[in-house]
C-alpha cells in the first residue's frame, strides 16, 4: 500500500510559497524581537525537517535518531569556539557540517542494511549511543551541556559582510540557508539520483533487480541528510549559544518526524510548512494559561500527545499533509516522465 508522493507542487502551492517567502522577508520589520527570534528558530527547524524528509518522505526510511546529527554539529561549534573570543564562521560551519556528515556515514554504514522496524529501532539506538557519549562524559559537557559564549564571526580578511550578533542578520542568514537547502533538495528530488531514491521507497527489490546498487544510494542519502541536519544544528548553536544532550534525544527526533508528517512527506516544501506548524503548536501549548490551580501550559506534553494520537487515529496519512490538503484545491500537474 504505497501512496505516491505529491512531488510536483501545484500552481496554487507554488504561489502560496512565494507569498510566504515575501512575508518572511518582510517579517523582521513587522514583528518584535521576540517573534523574530521565534521565526528564526522555526526556520532552523525547517532546515532540520527538510533534511529528514529526504530520508523519510523521499527514500522511505523512517529514522528515529536524526537528532543525533543535529546535535553533533552544535557540539562541534561549542568545541571550536574558544572561551574568550569568537571563531570564524567560514571554516567552522563546513567543519561542523562535515562532522555530522561523517557520523551519519559511519552510523549509516550499519543502519542502512536494515529494513522497516529494524531501521527505526537501530537508528534510535545509535542516536542514543551518541546521546550517552555526551551525557556520561564530563569532558564533553555531560548532562549540563556546553555554552557557546560567542556567535561565529563572519569577517573575511578584515572585511565584515554581516554580523551574526544582530537578531535581524541572523534571521536573514538563516532564511538564506533555508532557501539554499530547499532549492538544493528540490533539484535533488527531481534529479536522476532523487528518482532512484523515490524508486527505493516504492520498491527496493525492483530497483536492485534493475541494477541499482541501493545500499550506496541509501547510504548517500543518509549521509547527506545527516550533514544538512548538522547545518541546522550549527545554526541552533549559534542562535541559542547553548547546547545540551537533550538536542540529540529521541524526543527531538520524534518531533521532527511529526513535522514532516504534518506538512506532507516527500516534497520538501511540506517539511518547511510542517516545521512552522509544529513549532507554533508547541509554542501555543506551552503558553496555555493558568486555569484555577492548574497550569495548563506546564502539561504541554499531554496536549501534544493528545493532538498526535488524535491526528494519526482519525486522519490516515496522505490526507494529512498540509501542503497536499492545500494543493487539492488546485489541479496537480502530470508527473514528468523519466
Amino acid at each position: 500500500m504505497i501512496r505516491s508522493n505529491l512531488e510536483i507542487l501545484p500552481r496554487g502551492v507554488q504561489v502560496a510559497l512565494a507569498l510566504s517567502l515575501v512575508a518572511l522577508l518582510a517579517f523582521p520589520f513587522a514583528g518584535t524581537d521576540f517573534y523574530t527570534e521565534m521565526v528564526t528558530r522555526m526556520m532552523i527547524m525547517a532546515i532540520f525537517a527538510m533534511s529528514l524528509d529526504l530520508l523519510q518522505g523521499v527514500t522511505g526510511l523512517v529514522s528515529l535518531g536524526h537528532a543525533a546529527y543535529f546535535g553533533l554539529a552544535g557540539y562541534a561549534l561549542a568545541f571550536l569556539t574558544p572561551q574568550g573570543e569568537p571563531v570564524s564562521l567560514w571554516w567552522t560551519l563546513p567543519v561542523a557540517v562535515l562532522a555530522s556528515g561523517l557520523a551519519a556515514l559511519v552510523i549509516g554504514f550499519f543502519v542502512v542494511r536494515t529494513h522497516g522496524i529494524y531501521f527505526i529501532m537501530v537508528t534510535m539506538a545509535f542516536a542514543q549511543m551518541v546521546f550517552f557519549l555526551f551525557f556520561d562524559n564530563k569532558a564533553l559537557g555531560g548532562s549540563d551541556g556546553l555554552y557557546i559564549n560567542f556567535r561565529p564571526d563572519a569577517s573575511l580578511f578584515g572585511w565584515v559582510p554581516f554580523d551574526l550578533d544582530g537578531k535581524r542578520t541572523l534571521y536573514y542568514f538563516t532564511l538564506a540557508a533555508m532557501l539554499g537547502v530547499y532549492v538544493f533538495l528540490r533539484r535533488l528530488l527531481l534529479s536522476p539520483f532523487g528518482r532512484a531514491l523515490a524508486g527505493i521507497r516504492v520498491n527496493e527489490h525492483r530497483m536492485r533487480a534493475m541494477g541499482f546498487a541501493t545500499f550506496g544510494y541509501k547510504l548517500t542519502a543518509f549521509t547527506l541528510a545527516g550533514s544538512l541536519a548538522g547545518l541546522a544544528g550549527y545554526l541552533w548553536g549559534t542562535q541559542t549559544g547553548y547546547i545540551n544532550p537533550e538536542l540529540m534525544g529521541f524526543q527531538m527526533s520524534a518531533h521532527t518526524i511529526m513535522m514532516v508528517v504534518l506538512g506532507g512527506m516527500g516534497n520538501i516544501a511540506g517539511a518547511i510548512v510542517g516545521a512552522f506548524a509544529f513549532e507554533y503548536l508547541l509554542h501555543v501549548f506551552k503558553d496555555l494559561p493558568q486555569v484555577g490551580s492548574v497550569n495548563l501550559g506546564k502539561h504541554w506534553q499531554l496536549w501534544m500527545g493528545l493532538f498526535i494520537v488524535r491526528l494519526v487515529t482519525f486522519a490516515p496519512r496522505g490526507q494529512l499533509g498540509l501542503v497536499e490538503r492545500f494543493g487539492r484545491s488546485s489541479k496537480p500537474q502530470e508527473a514528468p516522465h523519466e
Binding site: M1, Q56, V62, L64, F110, V111, R113, T114, G116, I117, Y118, I120, M121, V122, M124, A125, F126, Q128, M129, F132, L133, F135, D136, N137, F250, A254, I257, M258, V261, H299, Q301, L302, M304, G305, L306, F307, I308, V309, L311, V312, T313, P316, R317
Partner: protein, 287 residues
C-alpha cells in the same frame, strides 16, 4: 577482579538480563505477531513501578501490590488494545511510531498529574531484606536473587504457554500466517488482545519487581525502552528465545563494561549491536 567480586557481577548481570528479557519478550511478541512498533512499551514498565510504589503504600505489602498491580496492568493493556492499538495493526510503521510516541507524552503527563514528579523509593519486603555474606566485606542481597527467581519462573511460564498449550499453538499459528490461521477458525482478534495484554503485564511486573532496587522516577521508561530495542534487534524480531539470549548477553556486556571499562560502558552495548548487525542484519534468531 577477585573471584567473589566476579561472582557478584555475574549475578548482577544475569539479574539485569532477565529483567530486560521480561520487557523485551512482550515487545518482540507484539512486533512479531501484530507487526506493531511500540515505543510506549517503556511506559508500561514505568506504570508498573509507580503502581508498586502507590499500591504497596496503600496495601502495606509489596507482594499484594504486585498481584493487584499485575491484574490492573493486564486490564489496562486490554483496554488500550481495544481502544487504540487494534486499529493500527495494518497501518504503516510510521503511524505506529507517531501513535506510540504520542502515548508516551500522554502517559508521562498523566503520571505527573497523578503521582507527581518526585523520585520515590519502594522498601524491600522484610522477608527478603537480608544479604548473603560472600566474604568479609562482600555480600549479595537476597532480594536480587528473588528478582531473578521471579523472572526465571515467568520465562519458564512463557515458554510453557507458547510451546505447550493450545493457546500458544494459536499464537504461533497467528505469527506464522495470520490469514491462514484465521481461515482455520482461530479467533485472531482475541489472540492479538491476549498477546498485547500479556506484553503489558510482563513489562509492568518487571517495573514492579525492579522498583525496590531501581527506585521510581519520571521518564524511567525511555531508557529501558532503548535497551529493549537493542535486545530485540540482537535477538531477532518475534523470537522469544532470541530475546532471552540477547537480554542475557546485553546484561553481561553492560554490567561487566561498567566495572572493567567505565569510560565507554554506556556505548559497549551499542557496539555489540553494531557487530551483530554487521554479520546478521536480522538478528541472531530471526524467525
Amino acid at each position: 577482579m577477585d573471584i567473589a567480586n566476579f561472582f557478584i557481577q555475574l549475578l548482577n548481570s544475569v539479574q539485569y538480563g532477565l529483567l530486560l528479557f521480561m520487557l523485551a519478550a512482550g515487545l518482540t511478541l507484539i512486533f512479531g505477531i501484530m507487526g506493531v512498533v511500540n515505543l510506549a512499551h517503556g511506559s508500561f514498565y514505568m506504570l508498573g513501578a509507580y503502581l508498586a510504589w502507590s499500591l504497596s503504600a496503600q496495601l502495606g505489602s509489596l507482594t499484594l501490590a504486585i498481584l493487584v498491580g499485575a491484574a490492573l496492568s493486564v486490564l489496562f493493556g486490554l483496554a488500550l488494545e481495544w481502544l487504540l492499538f487494534r486499529h493500527f495493526y495494518e497501518r504503516d510503521h510510521l503511524d505506529q511510531v507517531l501513535l506510540t510516541f504520542g502515548l508516551i507524552y500522554i502517559f508521562e503527563e498523566l503520571r505527573s498529574i497523578l503521582w507527581g514528579d518526585d523520585v520515590h523509593g519502594v522498601p524491600i519486603p522484610e522477608l527478603l531484606g537480608a544479604s548473603i555474606p560472600l566474604t568479609d566485606n562482600l555480600s549479595y542481597p537476597v532480594y536480587r536473587l528473588f528478582m531473578s527467581g521471579i523472572c526465571l519462573a515467568l520465562a519458564a511460564g512463557l515458554y510453557f504457554l507458547i510451546s505447550k498449550t493450545r493457546l500458544g499453538m494459536k499464537i504461533r499459528a497467528g505469527a506464522f500466517n495470520r490469514d491462514m490461521a484465521e481461515a482455520l477458525g482461530v479467533n485472531i482478534k482475541l489472540i492479538h488482545a491476549v498477546v498485547f495484554a500479556l506484553g503489558v503485564g510482563l513489562a509492568a511486573v518487571a517495573g514492579m519487581i525492579a522498583a525496590p532496587v531501581a527506585s521510581v522516577y519520571p521518564n524511567m521508561g525511555s531508557q529501558v525502552l532503548i535497551m529493549c530495542f537493542v535486545v530485540v534487534v540482537i535477538g531477532g524480531i518475534g523470537s522469544v528465545r532470541g530475546a532471552l539470549i540477547a537480554a542475557l548477553l546485553v546484561g553481561l556486556v553492560d554490567t561487566f563494561g561498567k566495572v572493567l571499562l567505565p569510560q565507554v560502558a554506556g556505548m559497549l552495548v551499542y557496539v555489540l549491536m553494531a557487530v551483530v548487525l554487521l554479520y546478521k542484519p536480522e538478528g541472531l534468531f530471526k524467525q
